[in-house]
């Protein structure tokens, strides 16, 4: 009996306490199952794998339901029935039908476990599903069936007016640095394959310590920014070849870890910039091709979003009269950067204002025609602007500009327009 436990602990490192808890709940043949278990923990901390592996090892029949897939309750019920009881083509619309079906297949589902993955989705579904699943044993009239919820949020978020039965809770904490190191070390076979396949003529053998060294170096850069195991594994895999490059080209030996570290550090720092982006090729400096007037419309939208409307007269009109300096203006000059409009985020503006600014910043005469108006809607479609009013109202449509200052500056550079001159944030400089 202990051998199952130790076997589990060796394949699933750093999760011994959770495995122990689960084993206590489900591992004893003669004991009744708990009604429901709620397992919470962040992304990629091994919830699903631990649960399914433990149940497999102790030989309990179980079915895994991914809640993202079950966008309606009908699909949820029917998927459970087909996975648990093998009922295909059954119609099951609501909880009552579901219970009924379960009771009819009483013998089939005796001592089985239902695992509901991504259980956080249950909150937005029918009100009776979560309490119903918590009490499934009671509702079905004593069938030995247990429900395990896997979720990224804590149970307290499910509390509502109606009281719910408290399930047994198990928490999966985040891995710490040592644990991450240990788990990533399991990836050594992949790394070996990588070296054998990719190092032309320079393939070499290495031991666990060498790989751990690499991971140590790797985690020292990434641990501060990312604890997500899958992401870390992905980056660790993609950078391992860079780490080994000096060895393949026979510049350094395997034991020379310090030199290897010095050589790979810049690459890793670079990879830190692309964390979570998952882009396999280095992208070219982005150049968005927009028609000439669309560029100006975008600039006008940016100006309208980041300038207060009361400054328009001063910024865009030729003879706007002299402005007397008040104490407030002087104070404004010493604005801290948090109060700058460009930092505060875009403000909505009306369509008329957009056109007015557009016509004042475009030097040559532009005909007001449909092609111009279509540009506005195509900018909205490209998500460079967002429309704030609903589409049914004809006049007074409001928009917001979605691009940031760097983006608009590159656009301005393309058309030769000095945007700083027209932004009230920069006007005192």
């Amino acid at each position: 009996m202990m051998s199952t436990l130790s076997r589990l602990e060796s394949t699933l490192p750093c999760r011994s306490s959770q495995i122990g808890q689960l084993y206590n709940l489900f591992g004893h043949n003669e004991e009744p199952f708990p009604g429901s278990v709620y397992i919470s923990g962040g992304p990629s901390v091994g919830k699903s794998i631990v649960v399914s592996r433990v149940l497999e090892e102790v030989g309990v029949k179980h079915a895994v339901i991914n809640m993202i897939e079950c966008y309606t309750s009908k699909i949820l019920y029917e998927t459970i029935l087909s996975k648990l009881c093998g009922l295909v083509d059954t119609k099951c619309e609501n909880m009552m039908d579901f219970i009924d079906h379960l009771q009819r297949n009483r013998s089939e589902i005796h001592r089985s476990v239902l695992i509901i993955d991504k259980a956080d989705k249950l909150r937005t579904m029918d009100f009776n599903i979560f309490p119903g699943f918590l009490k499934l044993k009671e509702l079905t009239g004593g069938i030995h069936i247990s429900v395990i919820f896997l979720s990224q949020i804590i149970l307290q978020k499910f509390y509502s007016k109606t009281n719910i039965v408290e399930p047994i809770q198990i928490t999966f904490p985040q891995y710490n640095k040592d644990e991450l190191l240990e788990i990533l070390t399991l990836d050594i076979d992949y790394a070996r394959n990588l070296i054998i396949n990719n190092a032309k003529g320079g393939g070499f053998e290495f031991d666990v310590d060498f790989y751990r060294n690499y991971l140590n170096v790797f985690l020292s850069v990434f641990y501060r920014n990312c604890r997500d195991l899958t992401e870390l594994r992905y980056i660790a895999r993609s950078n391992f070849l860079n780490y080994c490059q000096p060895i393949i080209s026979k510049e350094n030996t395997i034991s020379d870890s310090l030199a290897l570290w010095r050589k790979v550090a810049p690459t890793l720092k670079q990879a830190l910039q692309n964390l979570y982006l998952r882009v396999s090729t280095v992208t070219l400096p982005q150049s968005l091709e927009l028609p000439f007037y669309a560029k100006y419309l975008l600039i006008a939208a940016y100006l309208a979003s980041y300038n207060p409307a009361k400054d328009d007269k001063r910024l865009f009109m030729k003879y706007h009269g002299k402005k007397t300096k008040t104490l407030r203006d002087v104070k404004k000059k010493s604005k801290v950067s948090e109060q700058l409009n460009t930092v505060l985020g875009p403000k909505p503006f009306s369509f008329d204002r957009l056109l007015a600014i557009f016509y004042s910043i475009v030097e040559d005469k532009v005909g007001f025609n449909n092609n111009l108006l279509v540009q506005v809607s195509s900018l909205v479609e490209l998500q460079l602007l967002s429309s704030l009013s609903d589409s049914s109202s004809l006049d007074g449509a409001k928009y917001k500009c979605n691009v940031n200052f760097d983006f608009i500056q590159t656009v301005c550079k393309m058309v030769g327009f000095n945007i700083r001159k027209y932004l009230s944030d920069f006007s005192h400089m």
Partner: protein, 685 residues
């Protein structure tokens, strides 16, 4: 009355109505076609347009094939290794979705042909929620397979849309690719060996609801070990859009490879240079119209298909002038002219440039031109042949000029062939200021650059002048220049003129005088400079011969379309159109009763809305409804209002309806600030 088995009363649908309607429309099509299809000009137009269309299609395919190849390769290889993330290709298409829909269709066809039958295209409009998305996707996948298997599989059961879910998809896929041992039909066994991937194409990534896509990707990734998915995203803006709409827990499920497609300006240049500026296309746009179209392209929409549609419209406008436009082709000109009837020839005589021709002739010839059809036929043939001979030379030498001046600093004549073309067809390019500037700049070119350019020009002429006598003469001359330039190397050293050294021992005054003297006297040209100026002179002479203005030719209207009035049809301006319609209804109604001399006149015969509109133009920001009604009545029914203070209900209803219509059009809106007033929303007009 068709019989039903039902005993209940009700409306029953019989499914033959739709068929009848479609038949009707087809016959109608035929009728509208028969209006023109006999006329000479229409035939010419049709054959020309068809040839252009097929050429564009071919060019499209050729241009897209490059990126298509790499995409297809990516799709082929993405499941070679075991994957832990869903492979995804992001195709950066540039803005203009309509242009790219063709590309995605080709991509789909190509994938179906060479990789896998399981391809789905999902558009953002159809997939508001995850439910719709999954239903549409599964439905498309399963249905497409059924169509193929229809005759072999007897148990093709109908699948309802609501049944479509991932479970169904998985079951379907496993049945399709079950391990060979258990497979029973021999036909299926062939496909067993490699599981086909499932490609999901999303052409408009920006239009997709991000939430739906996130959920979809998560589900797909959970099925990755069973269903090999590959995504193709069409991204219009930049890769940032992908990262903005997918959070990290979703984007960690996919592995994106980026592909770039050709920018649409390059695409347009290709179409212009390879199809429209070639000897296959005798129809040409004049300078004004061409500039209009390129301006629309560059300034407003960057849409190549829009440009082609505009071009087509110009062609239609051009050809429907009359039968004389049937001459707008390269061959059979003599045949066509001899077939021309008297009316057709009159049609030709009405062309503007014919007047110039008449004026330049002697009195006897003038009479002959105007009255003698056979004499006129000969003249027409002669003149048209001149233009036909001129056109290929125009294109050829424009390209030569482009080679020569395209990379000059600041490019006075423009960097693209289209810019040169626009200049050459609107005025005499060799007389223009920019042209002179270009040749001044060319006079400073180094020998290597010049040699290179001359080489390219000779290649161009050799490749493009099939059977043209002039081509050979020019290339001979150019080759001789080239030889001279190459031979210069050996001679140069010998001919180096010993510079009169400025002796070190010289007074300051003397030195100044000396320098002044040196700067005044023209330095004698060295050998290279002599050859260069000779070469440039020769080229310039050639350009002057061949790059004439099209308007120099008589009957140039047959080949060049330069009617700027198409502008109003091409560029819509709805506000102006509405204003004209309401302000001067006669423009559209063409009725004799509403004719007005000036804008301010209001006639009682005009439609009510137009009277109300014209009255509202005279008002300020707020309009008093009662005053408005009074002025309306005074126009519609002048006697009634004077005699009787009570308003007739009919007239009031008419007025109310007209005001409501104006409100619907967005000219006024009801105001809460003042009772019985409406606010005016538009200004000017």
């Amino acid at each position: 009355m068709a019989a039903t088995v039902s005993v209940s009363k009700g409306v029953f649908v019989f499914k033959n109505g739709a068929k009848a309607a479609s038949k009707k429309s087809r016959t109608k099509d035929k009728r509208t076609q028969s209006l023109y299809c006999d006329s000479l000009w229409y035939k010419t137009y049709k054959s020309l347009w068809e040839s252009i269309e097929t050429q564009i299609q071919e060019l499209n395919n050729a241009m897209f094939s490059n990126i298509l190849c790499s995409l297809v390769n990516f799709l082929k290889n993405c499941y070679k290794d075991t994957v832990s993330e869903i492979p995804a290709a992001a195709l950066l298409t540039g803005i203009n979705m309509p242009d790219h829909s063709v590309q995605f269709k080709t991509l789909k066809k190509e994938i179906k042909r060479s990789i896998t039958p399981h391809v789905v295209t999902l558009s953002g409009e159809d997939c508001h929620s995850l439910k719709y998305l999954v239903e549409i996707m599964v439905n498309q996948l399963v249905k497409s397979e059924q169509l193929i298997d229809e005759d072999s599989d007897s148990d093709t059961r109908q699948i309802k849309k609501s049944q479509c879910s991932f479970t169904l998809l998985q079951a379907w896929y496993e049945e399709l690719y079950q391990p060979p041992g258990t497979a029973n039909s021999p036909k299926k066994q062939k496909t067993k060996h490699n599981k086909n991937i499932i490609v999901v194409i999303i052409p408009d990534f920006e239009n997709f609801a991000p939430k739906v896509l996130q959920d979809f990707i998560q589900i797909a990734s959970s099925y990755l070990n069973v269903l090999p998915f590959v995504f193709v995203f069409g991204v219009a803006t930049s890769l940032n859009a992908v990262h903005r709409s997918l959070p990290c827990y979703v984007s960690s499920r996919i592995n994106i490879q980026v592909f770039h497609s050709t920018p649409s300006t390059v695409y347009l240049n290709n179409i212009l240079e390879n199809i429209l500026f070639s000897r296959q296309c005798p129809f040409h746009l004049g300078g004004k119209v061409f500039n209009l179209f390129t301006d629309i392209f560059l300034f407003y929409d960057l849409s190549v298909s829009g440009f082609i549609q505009n071009f087509k419209y110009a062609m239609l406008e051009h050809f429907c002038y009359g039968n004389v436009m049937a001459l707008c082709q390269r061959k059979h000109i003599k045949q066509i002219i001899s077939d021309f009837s008297h009316d057709d020839l009159e049609n030709a005589r009405r062309l503007m440039s014919f007047r110039k021709l008449v004026e330049s002739e002697s009195p006897e010839a003038r009479i002959a031109l105007l009255t003698d059809d056979n004499y006129f036929r000969n003249v027409l043939l002669r003149e048209v042949r001149k233009i036909v001979a001129y056109l290929p030379n125009l294109h050829l030498f424009l390209r030569c000029l482009h080679v020569l001046v395209g990379d000059l600093p600041k490019a006075p004549l423009g960097k693209q062939v289209r810019e040169l073309y626009a200049c050459a067809v609107s005025r005499n390019i060799t007389k223009s200021q920019e042209y002179k500037e270009c040749f001044q700049l060319l006079a400073f070119q180094s020998r290597d650059e010049l040699c290179n350019k001359v080489k390219r020009i000779t290649d161009l002429i050799v490749n493009n002048s099939e059977g043209l006598e002039v081509g050979r003469v020019i290339t001979d001359r150019l080759n001789r220049f080239l030889d001279n330039l190459h031979n210069l190397d050996q001679e140069e050293d010998e001919n180096e003129v010993a510079q009169e050294g400025i002796s070190e021992l010289m007074g300051r005054l003397q030195l100044r005088e000396k320098l002044l003297q040196m700067s005044k006297q023209n330095k004698p040209m060295n050998k290279y400079e002599k050859i260069r100026s000779g070469l440039l002179n020769f080229l310039s002479e050639q350009f002057e011969i061949y790059l004439q203005e099209p308007t120099d030719f008589h009957f140039h209207e047959i080949f060049f379309f330069n009617d700027i009035s198409v502008q109003t049809h091409i560029i819509g301006s709805h506000r102006a159109a509405i204003h004209t319609a309401l302000n001067d209804p006669h423009v559209y109604l063409q009725c004799p009763c509403c004719e007005i001399a000036t804008d301010s006149v209001i006639l009682p015969s005009m439609p009510d809305i137009s009277i109300v509109y014209k009255l509202h133009l005279e008002c300020g920001k707020m309009i008093n409804l009662y005053d408005w009604l009074q002025s309306f009545l005074s126009i519609v029914d002048p006697q009634e209002t004077e005699d009787n203070p009570k308003v007739s209900p009919q007239l009031q209803a008419r007025f109310t309806q007209a005001v409501a219509e104006l409100e619907y059009l967005g000219f006024i809106k009801s105001s809460k600030r003042k009772t019985d007033h409406v606010a005016r929303l538009t200004w000017g007009g």
